[in-house]
């Protein structure tokens, strides 16, 4: 009886909605979802989704999962800097209240990331409970173009989706053409240092590090059969002897140049430790969303400086303009790229 009532309720909008106002799309998980023709109020289920929506159709974004910090605000276009905090609906530490989500009156919920069964089930449950269509978009790096096109279509901005997808395709193609012939032995050996002591890292094959391989590097943290974030010991780092270290942790970056444990490592000896910019979003991770496209260009530039004559400053300016709708001034660029180029040897 209950089930009957619920399915009857689910039919109501279709019955009463004017024809042509709704259509269906198939999301990355293969779910067929009925969505409004012009989604004007979109709720981002997590940080990766909020960036994707912001890049595609900022005026539809209802809020940021976490309010922007002051140092991040200059890198987001003015009207959307002050959007309210809406919380996370999924993933680790989901803290958005369904009633608050409903109070925002979204006409679409989007999650960008894993499309595994748990997330499919979660999407179905929220959709069933709230009656709001819930789209799952695949967050793997290799799927970026498909994801941009899918969500561009779903948000009613197919041209914008196509333009961004084309930009990604161009970057991917450029990398492939330049790096396809580089033998594995000649590729830089990269260590991603996380945490204040730099001893947290992502294993090869995890979503946090896939950018390294795409940029033509080799991740030295490789434990076949294991993925995800792990702790490494200094001895393991010494044995791996990376020639390039990438981090976004300011504390570690300041410490690595003085700490005796790191002095013998090739990357430190050659001053090849780089601090990734983190505003408004991380360049290499944090969160794993389309913000990594800028990091991909940056890393490829660090790994193969002779292959990219274009300057980082110009690239960053263009990227932020196309993707984040901001025209960065000189001061903002200075602050953003302060340490991104490594320390002078």
């Amino acid at each position: 009886m209950k089930r009957l009532l619920r399915s009857a309720l689910a039919v109501v909008p279709v019955v009463f909605g004017a024809p042509g106002e709704a259509r269906t799309v198939e999301d990355s998980a293969g779910r067929v979802v009925e969505i409004p023709d012009r989604a004007a109020r979109v709720f981002a289920a997590g940080p990766p989704a909020s960036i994707l929506i912001y890049a595609l159709k900022p005026e539809a974004l209802l809020g940021w999962p976490r309010a922007l910090r002051d140092y991040e605000k200059p890198y987001i276009a003015a009207p959307w800097r002050e959007l309210p905090e809406t919380g996370r609906l999924t993933g680790r530490g989901g803290d958005a209240n369904l009633e608050r989500v409903l109070a925002l009156k979204p006409d679409l919920i989007v999650d960008f990331g894993s499309v595994r069964d748990t997330y499919i089930d979660l999407a179905n449950r929220v959709q069933e409970q709230t009656g709001i269509p819930y789209l799952l978009v695949n967050g793997r790096f290799a799927e970026t173009t498909a994801s941009l096109r899918l969500l561009g279509e779903a948000l009613g901005v197919p041209d914008r989706g196509e333009a961004l997808a084309a930009d990604v395709e161009a970057t991917f193609a450029q990398l492939e053409a330049a790096l396809g012939s580089v033998p594995a032995k000649r590729r830089p050996r990269v260590y991603l240092a996380r945490g204040p002591d730099g001893l947290e890292t992502g294993l090869k094959g995890s979503i946090n590090t896939e950018i390294i391989e795409l940029a033509g590097g080799r991740n030295v943290a490789d434990a076949p059969g294991r993925h995800g974030l792990v702790r490494a010991s200094p001895e393991q780092v010494i044995v791996a002897d990376p020639d390039t270290i990438v981090t976004w942790d300011r504390t570690f970056y300041d410490r690595v140049w003085r700490d005796p444990l790191w002095q013998g490592i090739a990357a430190v000896r050659r001053s090849r430790v780089y601090l990734s910019p983190t505003a408004p979003f991380g360049w290499i991770d944090r969160p794993p969303s389309i913000n990594r496209m800028m990091g991909l260009k940056w890393l490829a530039g660090l790994f193969y400086p002779h292959l990219w004559p274009g300057d980082l400053r110009g690239e960053a300016h263009a990227f932020y303009k196309l993707w984040y709708h901001v025209d960065l001034g000189e001061a903002e660029l200075d602050r953003l790229l302060e340490r991104a180029g490594g320390r002078a040897p």
Binding site: P47, R66, R88, G91, R92, G93, D95, R194, G195, P196, D197, L199, E200, T201, L203, N208, A221, D222, A223, R226, L229, V230, R231, A232, S233, P234, E235, Q236, I238, V239, W248, D249, T251, R255, P260, L261, Q263, G264, G282, D285, R286, P287, P288
Partner: protein, 337 residues
């Protein structure tokens, strides 16, 4: 009487045997690790006769502090566990009973949450552990009704639960891509990043806690008989209990600040020690400390060698310790005489 003398001799023999074995194992552990380092090269580095490349860094700056830290952490946690088990006359008690781990966890997690440097995280962990136990002692002193021990334990449970809740709150608020993994790793315990500089403040504090315990070990033995009996034997239970709690807390908090939350050692090692030397605290304390040091050394050597990435200590101590403990129990030797 005969039995006691037998145990006395066995205890001294066991202590000698354990110390010797421990020194050998510690030396062996120095030679094990992902960095290829032969015996000859290791000896030449250790005796200061020069070295090649990174060998000196690996041996002196990474493995030596780490082996020392594992000995210190194991000995400290097991000794604290032995103290608490004797004090509360209960074999199910671990060093966490008065909330020291929960408090230290909260302090360190707060440090990670505020993106503080490693030293500050360790200091906050230490302060959090001490703070939690002080709060417990304060609550127990304020409540003047009922069984003193029961009130103390209940206060420990309450403060521990509150600290746990606060830790969970910080985990919810933390950046899921940056701070949350760091918090998770810290709460599972690890010696991966330990340096000589971390041990410089921790070792004296552990020593400051251990020395009074060793000196008072025969009196503490009397505590196990109960307050009335202790008073009859001329031992003032209240003050002695306070000293034991202060010392055991200092010991635990300082090693938890360095290694993170490493469970199981403080619970199981005193049991195993008791099976070997009997329940007398005078022999139990050194035996537990030696066994704990050896156990931690073995577990940490596994943690840094069995995989290309570190295995958190909190996982290994349980995975290695639990089956071994069950086996010991199944053999049915005296568990709590």
């Amino acid at each position: 009487m005969n039995l006691a003398r037998y145990r006395g001799r066995a205890g001294a023999g066991a202590a000698l045997w354990l110390t010797g074995a421990l020194i050998l194992c510690a030396f062996a552990a120095l030679l094990i690790g992902p960095y290829p380092l032969g015996l000859v090269e290791a000896l030449s580095v250790l005796t200061g006769r020069g070295s090649t490349g990174q060998a000196e860094t690996v041996l002196l700056a990474i493995r030596l502090p780490r082996v020392a830290a594992s000995l210190l952490v194991g000995a400290a946690l097991a000794a604290a566990g032995a103290c608490y088990q004797t004090l509360f006359r209960n074999p199910l008690v671990s060093p966490d009973i008065l909330g020291v781990s929960a408090g230290a966890g909260l302090g360190a997690v707060l440090g990670i949450f505020l993106s503080l440097p490693v030293v500050a995280i360790q200091l906050l962990g230490f302060a959090g552990g001490l703070g939690a136990v002080m709060l417990v002692a304060f609550v127990a002193a304020a409540v003047r009704t009922g069984d003193r021990t029961l009130v103390l334990v209940l206060a420990g449970v309450v403060v521990g639960a509150l600290a746990g809740a606060a830790t969970s709150l910080l985990k919810v608020l933390a950046d899921p891509y940056d701070q949350l993994p760091a918090i998770t790793f810290w709460l599972l315990g690890s010696l991966a990043g330990v340096k000589a500089a971390d041990l410089v403040p921790a070792a004296p504090v552990v020593a400051a806690g251990l020395v009074p315990l060793v000196l008072l070990r025969w009196r503490i033995n009397v505590l196990a008989l109960g307050d009335e009996e202790a008073r009859a034997l001329g031992v003032e239970a209240g003050r002695l209990r306070l000293i034991v709690i202060v010392c055991a807390t200092l010991i635990t908090a300082s090693v938890v600040a360095v290694a993170g939350v490493v469970g199981w050692v403080g619970l199981v090692i005193p049991h195993i020690a008791r099976m070997i030397v009997g329940p007398g605290f005078g022999r139990l304390l050194p035996a537990a400390a030696l066994l704990g040091a050896g156990y931690m050394l073995a577990v940490d050597t596994l943690a840094r060698t069995i995989s290309a990435a570190e295995v958190p200590l909190g996982i290994l101590t349980a995975v290695v310790g639990a089956p071994f403990f069950l086996w010991l129990l199944a053999r049915g030797r005296r568990a709590w005489a």
